[in-house]
C-alpha cells in the first residue's frame, strides 16, 4: 500500500528508520497528483519546486535531529487556498484574487512548516469558502473520489478529496458552518473543526470572522490529533485566539469509549435525514454501545433557528470582510476604469461569483439601518440561545454525536441552482459552529457505496477530549477504506 495511505505515525517512524525519505514521500505524492488530479481537480496549484526544496530540508533535519524532530517533519500536506502562503499565489478560489501573492504566511501554515511538514500546494474550495459543494470555485470543479459524478462537499472540497484520494496524507481546511466536517463526511475521511479560538485565524482569508476556524483533514483520528496539536495555540496576531495553553491530545487519544455518555440530539435524528444516512447512523450507534458507550437523548431546542441565524451572521460578516476586495491594492482590478466607481464596481463585477454576490447582498441587508435589530442582532441573540442549549446538554453528557450531513454526496450540478437546498447541507454542522465548540466528522460507513460521516462534538476547549471520542468512534466503527481510485493508483 502506498505510504501516503498509511497513518502519519507509521510514516513518521519510517522516516526516522530511513525506510523512506521525505523526498520519496513527496515524489510519490507529486506522482499521484500528476496521475489522478487531472480528473479529480483537488489542487488549484501544485508547488512542485517548493515541495522538493522543503522535502530536502526535512530530510536534512531528520538526519540531524532524528527522533528529536517534530512528528510531522517530512510529511507532505495540502493547504486550502484560503490560507495565505508567502510567495505562493493564494486566491480563495476567486477571480478577484487572481495573481495575489501574499507577503506573509498564515500562522497555521507557518506552524506546519516550522514542524518540517512539506506543503504540496493549494487546494480548491468554494469561492471565499462560501458553499457546500466546491462548485462555487471560480476556477474548477472538484470531483468526489468515491464517485466522480458527485461533489466532494464543501467548502474545503479540494482538501477532503486530496486526502481521500491519497494525494496527501493530511490537508488543512477551514470550517465556518461545516466546511471541514461536511466534505470529510462526503469523502469518507476524518475532519476536525477545533474550538473557535483554538487555532489562529491570522492569514486565513476571512469569510465570517466569528465562525471561521482552521482544522485538519486526515485518514484517521490519530492523524487529526497530530496536525491539530501542531497548528493550535495562542497567537499574538489574532485577538480572538485563546491564550490558554493547548492540551496535548495524544496521551488520552486511545482511552476509548468505555463508560462515556454520548448525547444524541433528538432534533437531529428526527427528520430530514436520507434513509441511507439514517440507517448508517443507527447501525453506528449500536456499535458504539457495544464498545461501551452509553447513549442518551439530549435536546437542543434552539437549533431549529440555527441555520437561519447562521445565514444572517455569516453573510453579514462576509459583506464587510470582502469590502477590502476593491481591486486597488491587489488582484487584477478593473483596467481602464475612468471613475473610481467604475474601478470598484468593475473589479467586483468581474471578480465575484454569483454565490458571493448573493451573500454580500444578504449580509448588507441584514446590517442596514432599520433591519439590523430584526436580523443581525436577533441572529446573534439566537446564537446565545444555541450556545446555552449546548451548555445545558454538555452538563449531562461527555460528548454529542450526530450525523454530519443529512445526505450522502449529491450529484454535480444538482443543487447549484437551488441555494436553499445547498444551505440545508449545513443544517447538522452549523449549530456547533455557532456555539464555537469543537466537532469532528468520522467515517461511519457507506450508504449505497457513498460515505456517511458521524459527527462528534465536545464542550469548548475540550478539543483533546473531542479527539479522544472521535478516535474511540473510529476504533469502534473501523477505519474507512480508501476509495477504489486511491487504491488503483500506482504506488
Amino acid at each position: 500500500m502506498s505510504w501516503l495511505l498509511r497513518p502519519l505515525a507509521e510514516q513518521a517512524a519510517a522516516l526516522r528508520t530511513g525506510q523512506v525519505t521525505s523526498t520519496a514521500l513527496v515524489e510519490e505524492a507529486l506522482g499521484r497528483i500528476a496521475q489522478l488530479d487531472g480528473a479529480l481537480g483537488a489542487f488549484l496549484r501544485v508547488t512542485v519546486d517548493l515541495a522538493r526544496r522543503q522535502a530536502a530540508e526535512a530530510d536534512r533535519r531528520l538526519a540531524v535531529e532524528g527522533e528529536g524532530a517534530p512528528d510531522l517533519c517530512g510529511i507532505p500536506v495540502a493547504i486550502k487556498d484560503v490560507l495565505c502562503t508567502e510567495g505562493v499565489e493564494t486566491t480563495a478560489a476567486s477571480r478577484i484574487l487572481a495573481g495575489f501573492v501574499p507577503p506573509y504566511t498564515a500562522t497555521a501554515v507557518r506552524r506546519l512548516a516550522e514542524a518540517g511538514a512539506v506543503s504540496l500546494g493549494k487546494c480548491n474550495c468554494d469561492e471565499f469558502a462560501m458553499g457546500s459543494s466546491t462548485e462555487n470555485s471560480a476556477y474548477q470543479l472538484t470531483r468526489n473520489p468515491h464517485a466522480p459524478d458527485r461533489v466532494p462537499g464543501g467548502s474545503s472540497g479540494g482538501s477532503a478529496a486530496a486526502v481521500a484520494a491519497g494525494l496527501a496524507p493530511a490537508a488543512l481546511g477551514t470550517d465556518t458552518g461545516g466546511s471541514i466536517r461536511q466534505p470529510a463526511a462526503l469523502c469518507g475521511v476524518v475532519g476536525f473543526k477545533p474550538t473557535y479560538g483554538r487555532v489562529s485565524r491570522y492569514g486565513l482569508i476571512a469569510f465570517a470572522s466569528s465562525l471561521d476556524q482552521v482544522g485538519p483533514f486526515t485518514r484517521t483520528g490519530g492523524d487529526a490529533a497530530r496536525i491539530y496539536r501542531t497548528i493550535a495555540g495562542p497567537d499574538p496576531r489574532d485577538a480572538t485566539c485563546s491564550p490558554r495553553p493547548v492540551e496535548d491530545p495524544m496521551p488520552t487519544l486511545e482511552l476509548g469509549l468505555e463508560g462515556l455518555r454520548l448525547g444524541v440530539p433528538a432534533e437531529y435524528v428526527a427528520s430530514g435525514l436520507e434513509p441511507g444516512v439514517q440507517r448508517v447512523f443507527e447501525a453506528a450507534c449500536q456499535r458504539l454501545v457495544a464498545a461501551g458507550a452509553q447513549l442518551e437523548p439530549v435536546s437542543l431546542p434552539s437549533t431549529r433557528y440555527a441555520l437561519a441565524a447562521y445565514y444572517v451572521i455569516a453573510p453579514a460578516e462576509a459583506s464587510s470582510n470582502l469590502a477590502r476586495m476593491d481591486g486597488l491594492r491587489f488582484g487584477p482590478g478593473r483596467p481602464g476604469a475612468v471613475t473610481l466607481r467604475e474601478q470598484l464596481e468593475g473589479a467586483r463585477h468581474l471578480g465575484f461569483g454569483p454565490e458571493v454576490r448573493r451573500r454580500i447582498m444578504l449580509g448588507t441587508y441584514a446590517l442596514s439601518r432599520g433591519y439590523y435589530d430584526a436580523y443581525y442582532r436577533r441572529a446573534q441573540q439566537v446564537r446565545t440561545l444555541v450556545a446555552q442549549d449546548f451548555h445545558r446538554a454538555f452538563a449531562g453528557v461527555d460528548a454529542i454525536i450526530a450525523p454530519t450531513s443529512p445526505t450522502v454526496a449529491f450529484r454535480l450540478g444538482e443543487r447549484l441552482s437551488d441555494p436553499l437546498a445547498m444551505y440545508q447541507s449545513d443544517v447538522l454542522t452549523v449549530p456547533f459552529s455557532l456555539a464555537g465548540v469543537p466537532a469532528a466528522s468520522v467515517p461511519a460507513g457507506l450508504a449505497d457505496g457513498l460515505p456517511v460521516g458521524l459527527q462528534v462534538a465536545a464542550p469548548a476547549f475540550a478539543d483533546a477530549h473531542c479527539l479522544r471520542v472521535a478516535r474511540g468512534v473510529e476504533r469502534a466503527l473501523g477505519v474507512a477504506e480508501p476509495p477504489d481510485l486511491a487504491r488503483r493508483a500506482a504506488p
Partner: protein, 62 residues
C-alpha cells in the same frame, strides 16, 4: 427567497437574551505598544494593478 428563509428567526423568543459578541475567552487581548518592521514599498505595492512613485494610483473620485 433566502430572506424568507432567514425570517424563521422572527419565531425565536429572544426576549432578554444578550447577543453573542464573542465566542471564546473573555478578556481583552491587547498588543504591547512596540514598533515592528514594515513591508518595503515594493512589497506593499507588489500586487497593486496601478501605482506610481510609491503611491497607489486610483481613478478619479467623481
Amino acid at each position: 427567497m433566502i430572506l424568507h428563509a432567514v425570517d424563521e428567526l422572527q419565531g425565536a423568543d429572544t426576549n432578554g437574551i444578550d447577543p453573542t459578541l464573542q465566542v471564546g475567552d473573555p478578556g481583552t487581548p491587547t498588543r504591547p505598544d512596540a514598533v515592528e518592521p514594515c513591508l518595503s514599498v515594493d512589497r506593499a505595492l507588489a500586487g497593486a494593478p496601478s501605482h506610481e512613485a510609491g503611491f497607489l494610483r486610483v481613478a478619479a473620485i467623481q
